[in-house]
Symmetry: C2
Subunit: 153 residues, 2 copies
DNA sequence: TATTGTTATACTCTATAACTATA
DNA sequence: TATAGTTATAGAGTATAACAATA
């Protein structure tokens, strides 16, 4: 009931959707995923995988269950993710000290080298992403999002 | 290299992730999806399905291909989505006028009635979502997201 | 008993390619 | 030739449940 020019030919009416933060978040997510994949396409690394590599690098030796919690994944899902990264020689499962049930996850040299390249791409991607925003707006956006999901206390 | 208190026991280091708008968007998305599903759980409607119902309501008679473009889905994906909604008697495929290849999509009476209920839930969900934001911050957030993904020109 | 990693399995969402009927 | 919808198929990404080894 907001827009009147309906018989114009192309533009559909999105109803209440554009006013919903949840919907805008969803759209932004889609745009981001596509640009991210394009930017890192040749390396076959999704946003999720990138995040996992960063977390392993920043917490060398962490256990699979810890990674699961950090990445909001089930333990069983982490198994296949690490299988994947280990197959590609980016990550290694090491025997953990003190607990023979656990694995300690570390980046291999290859993994660390790749991550370095990925980070540069991601920074470029991030710039593209917010290129229509001023530096201040970008900061505001991150702050507002953190308020919605206060994970990093 | 930003945080120092690493041996504290629980809190992992997220490296560069928290500063990335793309990452915060991703986290917010996860939180939203979970709360949305919980809010509409008994109706078995995802954020995506909700959006599709809204678009069909706001553009009664639109064709499947038009819906595909609007919802960023492939034509073939729309087929199963509409199969699903039609099976649940929420949407109807009608013969389109002027073109016997196309279907015209409309909400059924049941679909319209359900959507009315869903909208109330979604408004509540949205309130919860942004409850840590002021009204002004909420407006700012939507505006900033629209700038990232300027779909609604 | 509880926890870690694993397996087997399945479900959702999505896309690609080839087909059909119309245009 | 081109387009609308469909089918068959496949691939991510994810979860649940049950299990063996270890705590």
């Amino acid at each position: 009931m907001t827009q009147k020019k309906s018989t114009e030919k192309k533009g559909l009416d999105y109803g209440m959707l554009p006013g919903l933060a949840g919907y805008q978040l969803r759209l932004a997510q889609i745009a981001i995923f596509r640009d991210f994949s394009e930017a890192l396409g040749e390396y076959d690394v999704t946003p999720g995988l990138f995040g996992i590599l960063v977390i392993i690098e920043a917490n060398a030796g962490l256990k699979q269950t810890e990674l699961a919690r950090a990445a909001h994944l089930d333990r069983s899902t982490v198994v296949s993710v690490i299988d994947n990264l280990e197959r590609r020689s980016l990550v290694e499962r090491r025997a953990a000290e003190n607990d023979r049930r656990s694995n300690s996850l570390v980046l291999t040299a290859d993994g660390a080298a790749l991550l370095k390249k990925l980070k540069r791409r991601v920074v470029d991607h991030e710039k593209r992403l917010v290129e229509h925003l001023t530096e201040e707006e970008r900061g505001t956006l991150v702050t507002l999002l953190q308020k919605i999901f206060p994970e990093h206390r």
